[in-house]
Amino acid sequence: MTLTVDGDVAGAPLSVEVPAGAWTVATHPDPDAAAAVVAGTAPAGVSVALDGRLLRRRDAAGRQRAGLAVATSRLGCLPSLRVVDVVMLGLDGPQPPLWQIVLGTRRARTVQLDDEAAARALAGRLGLASRLDAAAVGLPAATEALLDLARALASGPRALVWRRPEWLPPADAEEIAAVAAGEHARSRLTVLELRASPERSAGP
């Protein structure tokens, strides 16, 4: 799926076209703001198109449903959730009605178990298996970055915007980049990597 991003973020242009199945690195003076704008969590400043179709809904939920996932490598503190719950946040399958959830019907339990199995399988593949039942609070920054990547991938996106965690030690950032590259190679996922550095280059 071709991803096209075009516009201004924080006074600087962000214009890039990522061919279907490619990995492209884009730079911006404020890549965090760029990721937020593309995700739809910040005021619109860019137009985003998938396969030439402009995403008219500018909110994050609409963009996620269209197949665009954004991982900013930052999560914050989620004290009441486990690590596996955070991965499950990204899942995007049909859900039972609220009354079935509250009453704990068999269908609601089945969906819950299926979701958890899918999240555990994905997290295991990305190297998070040992931490899945820990609380999502006080996590090392590298784990947090990997967990946000897992959460973004859980929705089965067709295009991923990934903010490279440049604030981590280079070895940790490379390790997470290798995980992302593995997923890119595995599913021919279209990836736009956002970096703060001034150059733009081809990805792995």
């Binding site: 999560l75 009441s80 959730l81 719950d85 609220l98 819950q112 006080g138 959460r151």
Partner: protein, 314 residues
């Protein structure tokens, strides 16, 4: 979600709660236990809003009041208890919806004000105008609720149902979205949460346990309870239940309710006074309540060890 109260702990606690009125049949003790369970229902009603959405909500007494009025009206007209239960829950949810409907934008900022306003209106304007009705406690499936023990067990059944419903919600995607929207809104939005629908369903659901608390209060009073039971001061006291115990967790609600009912019983202090002190303690020293502090121990210890190792290394 992750709670310190695991399944064996919940079973043991439930067994102890069921056995309580048989071990301590004194009517005063049973009546105090019913009041504790009302506090637990109030805390459970606040849990999704205060604990997950991390917003102060003060409309629980208003939801309880409308639930009490709806239930008392039906029971005084000799309607069946299950109908009164449904009406109380629905009245509680509808009242909570009024508070969130009045906060269409930035609900995390506006809801504390609108929910307080709803409580003030119900307590100060509506309740004094309600026709006082009285009724005899009904017989339900052969159990005469005029006995305090039976009323206690009925209230316990409401608490168990609300705990199960809250746990079911916590395990669902809806619950995870709610918790994420409160703690890390950006993550929730990037995960596809629709904030308006999350707020509406969470606040509406939160009104149901409060409505049931009102129903129990009506059964205790055998009529519409006095308006002082649903005042803004009571709203602050109820708020202390989840905040002191640990707002995001069911175990936090249980701990908070036990403290807020236990300390006044042991010391003779007023519940409202203890609630105020509890709020102050939670605000000053326990951002995630007592349960949060206990849960944070292992990773704080690990962090300290990491820091110690880092400072000891060359």
């Amino acid at each position: 979600m992750n709670d310190v109260l695991t399944a064996p702990g919940r079973t043991a606690l439930l067994a102890a709660a069921v056995a309580f009125p048989y071990l301590f049949p004194d009517p005063v003790a049973v009546r105090a236990a019913v009041e504790l369970l009302i506090l637990v229902l109030a805390g459970l009603s606040l849990l999704p809003v205060v604990g997950w959405l991390r917003t102060v909500a003060l409309s629980a007494p208003a939801s309880a009041a409308t639930g009490a009025v709806a239930a008392a009206t039906l029971l005084s007209a000799d309607q069946a208890l299950p109908l009164a239960v449904l009406a109380a829950g629905a009245a509680g949810a509808a009242t909570a919806l009024v508070a969130i409907a009045a906060a269409p934008r930035r609900p995390q900022v506006v809801l504390p004000l609108t929910s307080l306003l709803v409580t003030v209106v119900v307590w100060g304007l509506l309740l004094p105008r309600v026709r006082l009705v009285s009724f005899a406690r009904p017989v339900f499936v052969g159990v005469d609720l005029s006995a305090d023990r039976a009323l206690y067990l009925l209230t316990l059944a409401f608490v168990v149902a609300c705990v199960a419903a809250t746990a079911n919600l916590a395990r669902s995607r809806a619950g995870r979205e709610t918790a994420a929207l409160g703690a890390a809104p950006d993550v929730a939005l990037r995960s596809g949460a629709e904030p308006r629908s999350v707020w509406l369903r969470t606040v509406a659901l939160s009104g149901v346990p409060a409505g049931l608390a009102g129903l129990v209060a009506a059964l205790v009073q055998q009529g519409v309870p006095p308006s002082a039971m649903f005042s803004p001061a009571v709203a602050m006291t109820w708020l202390a239940v989840p905040l002191l115990g640990g707002a995001p967790w069911i175990s936090g609600t249980l701990v908070g309710a036990a403290i807020l009912r236990g300390v006044p019983a042991l010391t003779g202090l007023s519940v409202v006074g203890v609630g105020g002190v509890g709020l102050a303690v939670a605000a000053a020293a326990l951002p995630d309540g007592i349960v949060g502090a206990v849960r944070a121990w292992p990773w704080r210890l690990a962090e300290r060890r990491r820091e110690g190792a880092a400072s000891g290394s060359p």
